[in-house]
């Protein structure tokens, strides 16, 4: 079941950690997703949250999915089980994935003195439109790291230099105040 929401989100999670260099402190440790086979039916993935609640996703053989929420009093019983379609699952995974990425990124500024996160929107007249990210040479020129690009509500974590920039892209950058200002000018007007 490589198409299950968890299967997809796991590798991106790893990517996020890389993007943030000191990410280990930001990524909550000890999250365990249990996988349980249901012979003849499919499989179930369980997540026990920090607050002690259990969430489960049952993936049926025929591709159907059920999102289950377990009872507080009887932690073995599923109190509610919601069938979700493949598209809905994908949309939900995106929503959860996006909010997780952004909340982790914004957390950084509070954690680290002098280091800021900024979301730079790429103007439609930017000289880098339709050019690879590597062309901006942001890191060399401004000492700012680009950790993600948000495009049409989807997050591209730790984009490679080959990533082509599109109008409307939001570039998530981490750096010093001066660095970020320089990066903003760079994105808008090209190299000085």
């Amino acid at each position: 079941m490589s198409t299950s929401p968890h299967g997809r989100s796991a590798p991106t999670g790893a990517g996020r950690t890389d993007a943030l260099h000191n990410g280990s402190s930001l990524v909550t440790v000890g999250i365990r997703i249990e996988k349980i086979d249901l012979p003849g039916i499919g499989m179930r993935h369980d997540l026990v949250t920090e607050s002690g609640r259990r969430l489960s996703v049952v993936s049926y053989r025929d591709g159907e999915r059920n999102l289950g929420i377990f009872d507080v009093d009887d932690p073995d019983a599923c109190r509610d089980s919601i069938p979700i379609t493949e598209d809905e699952a994908e949309a939900l995974a995106d929503v959860l994935g996006t909010s997780v990425t952004l909340s982790r990124l914004t957390k950084l500024s509070a954690d680290t003195e002098g280091l800021y996160t900024e979301q730079l929107e790429l103007a439609t007249d930017s000289p880098f439109i339709n050019r690879p990210l590597g062309d901006t040479k942001t890191r060399t020129r401004t000492h700012v790291s680009i950790v993600a690009i948000v495009r049409e509500k989807k997050v591209i974590p730790s984009p490679t230099p080959a990533e082509i920039l599109r109008p409307g892209d939001v570039i998530v950058a981490v750096g010093t105040r001066e660095g970020l200002d320089a990066a903003g000018r760079l994105m808008a007007n090209g190299p000085d």
């Binding site: 086979d37 012979p39 003849g40 049952v58 377990f70 932690p75 073995d76 019983a77 599923c78 089980s81």
Partner: protein, 400 residues
Amino acid sequence: MHDNTLILIEVGALLLGMSLLGRLSIRIGISPIPFYLIAGLAFGEGGFIPLDASSDFFAIGSEIGVILLLALLGLEYTASELLTNLKQSKTAGIIDALFNALPGAAFALLLGWGPVAAVALAGITWVSSSGVIAKTIRDLGRISNRETPTILAILVIEDLAMAFYLPVLSAVVIGVSLLQGAITVAIAVGVVVLILFLALRFGHVISRIFTPEHNEPLLLGVLGLTMLVAGLAAQVNVSAAVGAFLVGIALSGRVAQNAGEVLTPLRDLFAAVFFVFFGLATDARELIGMLVPAIVLAAITMATKVATGYLSAKRAGIGVPGRWRAGFALTARGEFSIVIAGLAVGAGVAPLLAPLATAYVLITVILGPILARVPDARWFKGMLKRRAAVARDRAQAATP
């Protein structure tokens, strides 16, 4: 009237009647199996309107019904799934076999039916109905529950155990000498292990014979292979049903999924024919006499099933309410018990086994899904809570 015309009329009328019964069963929310059995009883020997012309059709149809029931069951599992399950849930399987097969065997011996009938009745009380139970779990919205894998594991182990039990039973009912019987059983078990091995190793190769894209050749091919292997298995006394089950296991991937889809309507038809035929072959008058023994047997073995589920769930680390849910979910017996009874009665073992098995399955298959709801009832939950509170108080009193 021409014989063939009469067959059309009889079969047609019966199927039409069964369809109405099927609708009724959906309305009430129970399995249609008891209705089919009762329909068979009503039209069979000693029933209201004996059917004669179509008995051949029902005999052959019921053979195909058993084969398709088992083939479709096999299609639901993959060979590796069975093996992992066997490794993980050995103990649950052993508890299940001891708790539920032994009472059946003891009961047959008490009735003075002899050791062969004891083997058959042991099987009848042992195996839960995977069809009925899986549907009950779905209906009650318990698929995500944590005790469900335990229930499924027991069902899977039982199904796999049948692959060895049925050949043994087939050999025993022929009534051969001990040595010859041992040889037959050894051959049977050897064949089953061989087919299982082939399924595990070369399942994908076997699946490649078929194209999952085209329904018609897929239907003919899988049905053909299933009947062929079933027939060959019956030739070497492995029981046709087991052959069909193993074919189902050997197929995997999209072929298995699509074959399951195209074969399901056929299975529904012939399985219904199978249950009716079993009812037809059972004398309704004898059933009345067997009612009391069947009730006693059902009461005992349903209690042992509840214990099986409770203990297995406890071993899996499930809380008290979940243990009861697992126990009560497992009580229904169904298609396999009838298959076993049919095999034994067909070979002429203890003729009263058929009415006993019919009455027994009728009771458990009707009560099973109802009992499965008991742990959700408010009074039951309240009782568990009070008991837990008492236990807590006692523990506190013990450690001041």
